[in-house]
């Protein structure tokens, strides 16, 4: 056991323990517990003693018995020294300490003398800390979005920290915001419009993109190189510089406030990505299969329909999902082109709701949950397809 590595071990492990305990305390505060002190020094001190004890005990007793008894001891100490708190909170503390001591498993008096052990310790705990940190930072806003939709404006103004659900309420009472936005704010209609625009965009984009991508991938024609580079360049151009001319032209043609107009714009802006992704995949299909098709007397359309499409279904699915998500999330064009609530998409409708300062925030959040959930479900369910699609070049946003 070296002094330097031991100190680093103690400090960094306690830092880790303190930060998870603090996150747990913050989350519990949001459940209505009345804490006013994060007690960082206390927890840090506890962490140092805990880690030290752990290393000193070493392998003298069975690992399981060791971590359970240490966790019991320290949750009890925690309970004794800190403010009174309900059982579930202490149980959470117990689980955290159990997890923490289990992570300490590979350290004992002997391992602390290895080469580069200080760096390894730092890397280990920073990894753990980083994962907790990233998960917390990413998920926290989503959590707030969800729980706010179940609260009322008044309850939140009285105590902005109490997000606990009131289980004594009946279900319709609990989901009141959702009922309200469907009944008074017409969200059913907006969901339909958003779905129609997004699905329409997917269909039209694929209809245009599959033939074009095939031509770029397989056929020789004048201007092919120019086309494939200009796809990339066009793809870099932002929507904001298109907005004014499109707005003026669409106004004069009467295409504003129409779903058709939106569909054209979405299709045109997603086409370059779709073509780029698809042609990459088409190139990976062995050419011999197509040659066999030509021998059988198929023309180009037959080849696309009967060979290329069936063989590249995964790529087409990933492009379709990706285009769907772009169209569903799109905001700028729907802001510019839609002024009449009759033709709002979900995103535009939520923005419109927020424009009225009187709108209670739980309605806004209920709307946000509704617009977010489909995208997250699609993403979680088809993650593999989408991630491969994302890395194959579709990085706009």
């Amino acid at each position: 056991m070296k002094f330097k590595s031991t100190t680093i071990f103690l400090v960094i492990s306690s830092f880790f323990l303190t930060s998870i305990l603090s996150i747990w305390k913050i989350m519990s505060t949001l459940q209505g517990l009345n804490f006013t002190n994060l007690n960082i020094t206390g927890n840090f001190f506890n962490g140092i003693i805990l880690s030290l004890l752990f290393v000193l005990i070493g392998k003298r007793i069975n690992h399981l018995i060791k971590i359970f008894s240490l966790s019991f001891l320290f949750s009890f100490l925690y309970f004794y020294f800190n403010e009174t708190s309900p059982f579930w909170y202490i149980f959470g503390v117990f689980l955290i300490i159990l997890f923490f001591t289990n992570k300490l498993k590979k350290y004992d008096t002997k391992s602390l003398t290895e080469d580069f052990i200080s760096e390894k310790i730092i890397f280990d705990f920073i990894t753990l800390f980083g994962i907790v940190f990233f998960a917390f930072v990413i998920l926290f806003p989503f959590y707030i979005m969800l729980v706010t939709s179940f609260k009322t404006q008044i309850a939140l103004l009285v105590n902005p920290l109490d997000f606990s659900l009131d289980y004594s309420k009946s279900l319709p009472e609990l989901f009141k915001s959702y009922f309200v936005i469907f009944e008074t704010y017409n969200f059913g209609r907006y969901i339909l419009i958003s779905s129609a625009v997004s699905i329409g965009t997917v269909i039209v984009t694929l209809l245009f993109a599959i033939p074009a991508a095939y031509a770029v991938a397989r056929l020789n024609f004048f201007g092919k190189n120019f086309l494939s580079t200009s796809i990339l360049i066009i793809y870099m151009f932002p929507a904001i510089v298109l907005v004014i001319p499109l707005y003026t032209v669409f106004s004069q043609l009467g295409l504003r406030n129409s779903i058709f107009g939106l569909l054209i714009v979405y299709t045109a802006t997603t086409l370059p990505v779709a073509i780029y992704m698809l042609q990459g995949y088409f190139k990976s299909i062995p050419k011999e299969i197509e040659d066999a098709g030509i021998m059988d007397g198929q023309n180009w359309f037959g080849i696309i329909l009967k060979i290329i499409i069936p063989l590249s279904l995964p790529a087409i699915a990933s492009v379709a999902l990706y285009v769907f998500m772009i169209a569903w999330n799109e905001f700028l064009f729907s802001l510019m082109f839609l002024d009449s609530p009759k033709s709002f998409t979900l995103s535009r409708a939520i923005q419109y709701l927020s424009g009225d300062a009187e709108t209670p925030r739980q309605y806004l959040m209920a709307g946000s949950v509704i617009v977010t959930l489909p995208v997250l479900f699609i993403f979680i369910y088809f993650e593999k397809y989408l991630v491969s699609g994302l890395t194959s070049g579709s990085v706009k946003g």
Binding site: L161, P238, V249, F331
Partner: protein
């Protein structure tokens, strides 16, 4: 391949490519050029409606037996600024109807009244009355008369298509628009947003690349902010950061970390003193940058992770044998392997952050020192209603973008193809 087959291939290729190309040209390329045209014109939002003659038809009873009716046409020019030339008017009536007071400008022939109203100046208004009489003396059905709508036509200039140009818009962009401030805000936002996203991306990728449990879940969760709809996420953040009853401020006050709530999105500057030096930090802009990093580091993460997973494990094993420390491994093996992808990401993210509109618009609306070039396009074009000016700002954006792209292709274009 024979010559005819080559020709057939070419023709097929053009048929396959053409629809997509035409659509993209119409919606993406045409507006970029149209911007140039509009930016040299003195044109406002209200000018873009083409003026048209309008008539509202009101039918009233005139005689007691109903055989006579009075029709009032409320005629007007829809435009407040432009005249309409050569206005023609036409309306139809049922059989056996005569008109008692035929205006000198009009003609009544075979159930049709046709009038020639000449030129209407801007804001022109007139109540044009005619009295109908049924020749048989029977009652005229009002519904039939009402259901027939008058047809109007006229010629007017489309202000978009006239050829009077001006340099006024560009003068205003550079001299009356706080251009330097606008540009520096945009670059501040773009640069720190990009660098932050890449740093967090590297950190996250490095974490997920370790052998930890639940690694694929972690990868999924990390991408949430990127795939979520911007509207929902921006409003959630606004709510979270709200100074009055936002969760973050309430938490910080509750745990005595700050004394009073900070208006993170509404305060332009905050003074921070470090070692006795006072720094003025652009608070709202920094908050918006953090949102930007939060939303887009997942993308950097994904690309860097893909690269990290492609690094052969044998390199690390060899380093292990040579007794390299974790830090040395990171500096000498990992970093050189990811520099190429980082430079590409930097450029791509830089360009897209430079164009970012929605995020800033939804969080602050461009207030409290967060006015960037894209926000300015919107403000000029739609809040101030000066379309020409908005277009001029767009042109500035396009020019800057083109220069970035040229630098990009010069510097790392070749590298990008290798990967």
């Amino acid at each position: 391949m024979s010559n005819t087959l080559l020709k057939l291939e070419k023709r097929t290729a053009y048929t396959l490519v053409l629809p997509a190309v035409l659509l993209v040209f119409a919606i993406v390329l045409f507006p970029i050029f149209a911007n140039i045209w509009i930016s040299f014109k003195d044109i406002e939002l209200k000018d873009i409606r083409i003026p048209e003659p309008r008539a509202k038809k009101i039918v009233k009873s005139f005689s007691d037996d109903g055989s006579e009716l009075k029709i009032v046409y409320k005629l007007r020019n829809s435009s407040l600024i432009q005249e309409i030339r050569n206005v023609k008017f036409q309306d139809k009536f049922p059989k056996n109807i005569s008109i008692l007071n035929l205006d000198s400008r009009c003609n009544f022939k075979s159930k049709k009244i046709i009038c020639d109203f000449g030129n209407w100046e801007a804001k022109y208004k007139e109540n044009f009355e005619i009295i109908l009489k049924n020749i048989d003396g029977e009652k005229i059905k009002k519904e039939i008369i009402k259901s027939q709508k008058p047809i109007l036509s006229g010629k007017s200039d489309n202000p978009l298509l006239t050829t009077n140009f001006t340099l006024e818009n560009f003068k205003k962009v550079f001299y009356e628009n706080n251009f330097i401030d606008l540009l520096s805000t945009t670059f501040y936002f773009t640069f720190f947003g990009t660098v932050g996203a890449i740093i967090f991306g590297i950190l996250a990728a490095q974490l997920v690349n370790q052998n930890i449990q639940g690694r694929s879940y972690m990868r999924g969760i990390l991408l949430f902010p990127y795939v979520g709809p911007v509207v929902a996420l921006a409003y959630t953040w606004t709510l979270l950061l709200d100074p009055n009853s936002g969760t973050l401020n309430a938490l910080l006050v509750n745990f005595n970390i700050i004394e009073s709530p900070i208006n993170l999105l509404g305060q332009k500057y905050i003074t921070i003193s470090i070692f006795g030096f006072d720094f003025k930090l652009r608070l709202a802009l920094t908050t918006v940058i953090f949102f930007e990093i939060w939303r887009y580091f997942p993308l950097a993460f994904l690309f860097i992770l893909a690269r990290l997973q492609a690094i052969p494990q044998s390199l690390y094993e060899a380093a292990e044998v040579d007794g390299a420390s974790p830090v040395q491994k990171f500096i000498h093996i990992t970093l050189p392997q990811i520099t190429a992808i980082i430079s590409i990401l930097f450029m791509i993210r830089f360009i897209w952050n430079f164009n970012k509109f929605e995020d800033i618009f939804l969080l602050t609306g461009g207030a409290s020192g967060t006015r960037t070039l894209p926000i300015n396009v919107y403000q000029q074009g739609f809040a101030v209603s000066d379309i020409g000016m908005g277009s001029a700002v767009s042109i500035v954006i396009v020019m800057l973008l083109l220069s970035f792209m040229i630098i990009y292709f010069r510097l790392i274009g070749k590298k990008a193809n290798e990967i």
